[in-house]
């Protein structure tokens, strides 16, 4: 019997997807779909009111995630998902805003926005799918491309130095930073769950195979081979010093939860400070001590 014939049974994730837009555009063997499932699982387990969860994406392959999840979702301009999410969250502090975007958007063109949102400890969860290139536009070199890797605009190999994303996030002031590969399904789910429950700026980097571009240009096999490779090369080191987390080309990947600290969010700081200075004149915005919403 086909799944559609059993009316009471369907893939549980379909409640969270815009089924009128499935199948999606991602390549066979691309890890983004897997990250979306891990995210959906985290949403379910967190028992958040799904009316109050909003997803903001930028442009790119990962940027298409907003179009497939059945939540209030926004497909914005390249690199600008984080300031959009900032405005959305500040306008309606009850929302839980998740930024789902790729390494090119968030750390390339959007790098400035990332560090400032982290600095302010804006209450956002940023899920960054890192496939080491600008995939949607054809596999160009990105700020995360490892040295010596091949990309369409580094046809002789990349000689630039990449970012170490957890290091950058930590330095900028993020209060929750974790890195996993796409195969660490349940750990990604757990990290997203923890980040959703925690007020403040969270970054979860998920290293994902890019089959058609990064893997093909560097002859790294298909999606399965690269997924396997990343997982096998990964070593869990919770709490590792973020200075030691650089990724070399096809090298060891250190994964885990690196940063988990407490700090008042932007709104908490605003409310606390202005209440102190202005006393009764101040109109409280949102809720004081926004913890856990």
């Amino acid at each position: 019997m086909k799944p559609e014939d059993r009316l009471e049974e369907k893939n549980p994730i379909e409640d969270l997807l815009r089924m009128d837009r499935i199948p999606h555009i991602w390549c066979p063997g691309c890890g983004i779909g897997t990250v979306v499932t891990s995210f959906a699982e985290a949403l379910k387990r967190s028992r958040l009111d799904l009316d109050k969860v909003a997803v903001v994406s930028g442009i790119g392959c990962t940027g298409r995630v907003a179009g497939y999840v059945k939540l209030d979702s926004f497909h914005t301009t390249h690199g600008r998902a984080i300031p959009f999410a900032t405005g959305l969250k500040l306008a309606n502090p009850e929302l839980k805003v998740v930024v789902f975007s790729g390494d090119g958007g968030i750390f390339g063109i959007g790098g400035n926005h990332f560090i400032h949102a982290a600095r302010r400890n804006m209450d956002l969860v940023v899920v960054c799918v890192n496939n080491f290139n600008y995939a949607m536009t054809g596999g160009q070199v990105a700020a995360t491309t490892p040295e010596d890797a091949n990309a369409s605009t580094a046809p002789y190999g990349n000689f630039e130095y990449p970012f170490s994303l957890p290091y950058l996030a930590d330095a900028a002031g993020a209060t929750y930073v974790a890195r996993w590969t796409a195969l660490h399904l349940r750990r990604v789910t757990k990290s997203i769950q923890e980040a959703l429950a925690k007020p403040g700026f969270s970054l979860i980097e998920v290293i994902t195979p890019c089959v058609t571009l990064y893997a093909r240009r560097n002859r790294l096999g298909d999606g399965l081979s690269l997924l396997k490779y990343y997982y096998d090369k990964s070593e869990i080191q919770h709490g590792a010093d973020t200075r030691s987390l650089a990724i070399g080309y096809q090298d060891k990947l250190i994964v885990g939860k690196f940063v988990d600290r407490e700090k008042p969010t932007f709104l908490d700081a605003m409310n606390t400070h202005l209440s102190k200075v202005l006393g009764d004149d101040y109109q409280l915005y949102g809720r004081l001590n926004n913890g856990g919403n």
Partner: protein
């Protein structure tokens, strides 16, 4: 459109001595703006500073973002979070905002941007006046779209037209610009702020139907779709890609045609309702002077002097710059000997006047590259030239 009385919390009723920048901030607060994301840039910074001082007691958020791109993007996010929003900037910041002004147009997001213009191009004259971004307001972003732009000539109008800008933005779900300049922005004059009951504010066109039937871009009878905000359970999707009624991307020529015709049509077809101009003795005039903003105040002196010389000069002030008052210019064209168009730029609105006149009358521009206002004598010379 649902009109309500202004929220008293934001209205600083009374007679004040304010500069244009401050008046813009007060206008925004009176109109119900409770979110401001901006970046400092001379000569607009005072608006941001005023807003940051006032908003804690009114209730809302002021955030200084890391750049103008972040500012305009945060505004769009905040609008979809349910707030009325504004920012203020000048030439260089305006240029940075262009991509996301396009996003606001494409997603039909109401917001207000005030541009306190200064001499350009590039860093130009940060502390001195200009009117050089007029065409940029209309054409600055890529693609086809239409916007609304207003031009105040005094701090009082800065207050009034900012409120009107919010109302127009909500009515037509379009970014609306308040194109003022350094002179008006930094000039101090009496600004009378009425009581909240006397201020009419347009409420956002909220959707009230069943949740499962909501289509983000389905046109209503007035040609404008209903809006919702995130958090109310509609689970809608908004994208900058060409989209259909559901808000989903549709990448083909037919969808593009429908999409763009709507974005352009909603302003073009309502132009007569939107446009406001002020005319003085234009009927039967030999020459009509067309100006806007601070130049219109200088033009008054030239017009008075010309009338003393016996020339029948009409004075036409643009309060709404975009959409441009094509119909009125076409009516006057052929009936007047010439139009004289002074502006503090090398010739921008004069091109529109030339286009609409289509050769039926002479069009004499009085350009000024910026830094100061015109000398009335230059405008008078042009008027005298026009009647030869």
């Amino acid at each position: 459109m649902k009109r309500v009385k202004a929220d008293p919390k934001g209205v600083l009723t009374g007679a004040h001595f304010l500069d244009g920048d401050f008046a813009i901030a007060e206008g925004a607060l009176a109109a119900g703006c409770r979110f401001f994301a901006g970046y400092p840039i001379t000569p607009s910074t005072e608006t941001a500073e005023r807003f940051s001082e006032r908003i804690p007691s009114v209730g809302g958020v002021f955030i200084q973002m890391e750049d103008e791109i972040a500012s305009i993007t945060a505004l769009i996010g905040a609008t979809w979070g349910g707030q009325k929003v504004m920012t203020v900037t000048s030439g260089p910041g305006f240029s940075l905002m262009m991509e996301n002004i396009g996003l606001a147009c494409m997603t039909e997001t109401p917001l207000v941007i005030a541009n306190v213009q200064r001499g350009g191009p590039s860093t130009g004259l940060p502390t001195l006046t200009g009117q050089q971004d007029i065409m940029q307001a209309r054409w600055g972003s890529h693609g086809d779209y239409e916007i609304i732009a207003l031009s105040p000539d005094s701090p009082q109008e800065c207050f009034d037209l900012t409120i009107e800008a919010f109302n127009l933005a909500e009515t037509y779900r379009v970014p609306t610009f308040v194109m003022t300049d350094e002179c008006v922005g930094h000039m101090h004059e009496k600004v009378v702020i009425p009581s909240p009951e006397e201020i009419e504010v347009v409420e956002r066109k909220w959707y009230t139907g069943p949740k499962d039937k909501y289509l983000p871009y389905k046109l209503d009878d007035d040609g404008i779709p209903h809006m919702v905000k995130a958090g109310d359970g509609y689970h809608f999707h908004i994208t900058g890609l060409t989209h259909d009624e559901k808000g989903y991307p549709v990448i083909n020529a037919d969808a593009q045609d429908t999409c763009v015709r709507h974005l352009v049509g909603k302003i073009k077809n309502n132009a007569e309702k939107i446009i406001r101009i002020e005319e003085d003795e234009t009927d039967g005039a030999e020459v009509v002077v067309i100006s806007y903003g601070i130049t219109s105040r200088v033009a008054i002196r030239a017009v008075q002097q010309a009338r003393k010389l016996g020339i029948h000069v009409g004075n036409l002030r643009l309060i709404t710059i975009w959409p441009f008052c094509e119909k009125r210019i076409r009516e006057l064209a052929g009936k007047v000997k010439a139009f004289v168009v002074p502006e503090i730029n090398f010739g921008q609105i004069v091109l529109e006047v030339e286009r609409c006149t289509a050769g039926a009358s002479r069009v004499i521009g009085v350009p000024h590259c910026g830094g100061w206002v015109h000398n009335p004598a230059d405008i008078l010379t042009a008027i005298k030239e026009a009647v030869k």
